[in-house]
């Protein structure tokens, strides 16, 4: 069996060991984000007596927040912190002896963990589609859904590299979880995890959209919510932004990894 398939199987078994715990954790997060945001925006639309805010209708807002937890799970699965933990407790030593790249293995395990986590969401969404067959969600074109999944897959390495930069700081610092939390808060806010970036004030929005968070999270989720594919120009712009940030982060990861291995004692911190 190939290494990625083997790692996928291990992650699946890990998730299924505590099935109920796994499903509850994911659904609790998804439902809380979706429902709270839905009620919040419903009250804002009602208070303003308007059909759309920042070019987004209430129904599109509903779809946006329904898919947002899935985007977060697919792109920034931060529950998985093996890299810094392995450095901290010295487990990295044994992986260094393996005939495979440790970073590649961590990448595959993380992506496996992310994609396995989407199963409980799918059940919820099928339920929504069955209950509301005429909603925007149920009538989302298949090519838009496909675009959303492919884009999330493309965005994953960028976030993996950004979070790895912080994980690799574990070679020098005792704890890095607080730095990962900073990345999570910032990426969530700047990427549209709280409010779609389209609603940011104009001046701020320009700068925010130059950062990778928007391309990683908000962009494909809003495309899905609006139900139409973006213009080719927008697509190239976002893709080149994502690639540029991935390349820069990849370079930093490579430098930190090489330097970190030189100071790694083999027995952790």
């Amino acid at each position: 069996m190939s290494l990625p398939r083997q790692l996928f199987r291990i992650e699946l078994e890990r998730a299924l060991t505590y099935r109920l715990d796994f499903i509850m954790r994911i659904l609790a997060k998804a439902l809380s984000v979706s429902l709270i945001s839905w009620f919040l925006w419903k009250s804002i639309f009602a208070a303003n007596q308007t059909q759309e805010i920042g070019g987004i209708t209430l129904e599109q807002m509903g779809v946006y927040y329904l898919f947002l937890p899935l985007t977060l799970m697919l792109v920034m699965n931060l529950d998985y912190d093996s890299l810094s933990t392995d450095i901290y407790d010295g487990s990295l030593s044994k992986y260094l002896l393996y005939p495979r790249s440790y970073l590649w293995m961590t990448f595959v395990r993380k992506i496996a963990s992310s994609w396995i986590s989407i199963a409980p969401y799918l059940v919820v969404w099928f339920g929504f589609v069955l209950l509301l067959p005429h909603s925007a969600l149920a009538q989302t074109p298949i090519e838009v859904l496909f675009f959303y999944l492919i884009w999330s897959l493309i965005a994953f390495p960028c976030f993996f590299l950004l979070s790895s930069i912080l994980d690799l700081l574990a070679f020098w610092f005792e704890q890095t979880w607080s730095l990962r939390s900073i990345l999570r808060f910032t990426a969530l806010f700047l990427g549209g995890g709280y409010v779609p970036t389209e609603l940011f004030p104009e001046g701020l929005r320009y700068w925010v959209e130059l950062l990778p968070a928007h391309s990683m999270l908000g962009f494909q989720t809003l495309v899905l919510a609006k139900g139409t594919l973006p213009a080719a120009e927008t697509l190239y712009h976002q893709l080149s932004l994502l690639m540029a940030w991935s390349l820069v982060s990849g370079g930093v990861v490579w430098i930190l990894w090489r330097r970190g291995l030189k100071v790694f004692s083999g027995s952790g911190m």
């Binding site: 796994f22 997060k29 919040l40 009250s43 804002i44 610092f173 704890q175 607080s178 939390s181 609603l199």
Partner: protein, 289 residues
């Protein structure tokens, strides 16, 4: 009642008060010892200490930014206007800072203590196991952020039309602070109720995550929710009672229907919590739990 009986009762009452005072003093001394140990431990790992302060600063900035973006598009959020919403946000940041400083580190470790059998060391000590579990770790890094949260709240109130200028308004602000403390105590009781099942089940990580997720419900004004949802999260899972009602009571002029649930729910939930705590510590059977 004859004089001898009256005298005996008076001495007995004085004796009970004396014992109660000594008990409080005893626990205060223990808590100060915890505080010293936490400061020593917290300042030992300086980078972690600094990162934690930075993390909480980002958390505050993101929350303030989120509500500012919302207020950019609306002037009313669940029956609160712009000025009231800003005080509301500062209020829940204050409660969050209080909780993170005094209780979060201790509670984070609690399920693991039970699962691994390390709760034995808590039970064998000659003080309340509840006190030891809840107050053991004081988060030094979060304490500095709690001060920042206090500054944000002070700034928001003092620059608003709610700034105290006479005795009545000072009383109102004092009552608000008291209600924020009551709200924090409800949050603590609710969080613990989500963790206490650890005495009976192996994994309560999902419940812990759930308690964090539903906290977000309380971080929005209660007016944004439909009546039924509001009822559930006011009386059954009282996150709105803990987070939203203290600020809304202050901002909307202390209506009875807002602050009565606050006090009632606080008493009820602490009663339920202490009952389950007692049952849980009885059911606990070391690592085999």
């Amino acid at each position: 009642m004859d004089p001898l009986e009256a005298r005996t009762k008076s001495i007995q009452w004085e004796w009970n008060v004396n014992i109660l005072f000594q008990e409080i003093l005893h626990y205060a001394v223990i808590w100060i010892a915890f505080l010293r140990a936490s400061f020593a431990r917290g300042l030992q790992f300086r980078s972690d200490f600094f990162f934690r302060i930075l993390m909480d600063c980002f958390y505050y900035a993101v929350n303030l930014g989120f509500f500012e973006v919302l207020l950019h598009h609306t002037s009313e959020l669940g029956s609160l206007n712009t000025e009231q919403t800003r005080i509301f946000v500062a209020g829940f940041l204050f409660m969050d800072g209080l909780y993170m400083t005094f209780f979060s580190s201790s509670l984070w470790l609690f399920p693991d203590l039970i699962r691994k059998g390390n709760f034995d060391y808590t039970l064998v000590r000659p003080v309340s196991s509840f006190f030891l579990t809840v107050f053991r770790d004081f988060s030094v890094g979060s304490f500095f952020n709690f001060l920042i949260a206090c500054a944000i709240l002070t700034y928001q109130i003092s620059t608003s039309s709610y700034a105290p200028s006479e005795v009545g308004s000072w009383l109102s602000v004092s009552l608000y602070i008291l209600f924020l403390l009551v709200g924090t105590s409800i949050m603590l009781a609710t969080r613990l109720l989500f963790l206490v099942p650890a005495f009976w089940f192996t994994q309560v990580d999902a419940l812990r995550d759930l308690s964090w997720s539903i906290q977000n419900i309380g971080e929005r004004p209660s007016g944004v929710y439909p009546d039924r949802v509001r009822f559930v999260f006011t009386y059954i899972v009282p996150v709105l009672t803990a987070f939203a009602l203290p600020s809304e009571s202050f901002l909307l002029g202390w209506p009875l229907d807002r602050w009565l649930p606050l006090t009632g729910v606080a008493v009820l939930f602490w009663g339920v919590l202490l009952f389950f705590w007692k049952q849980g510590t009885r059911a606990y059977s070391s690592a085999s739990s």
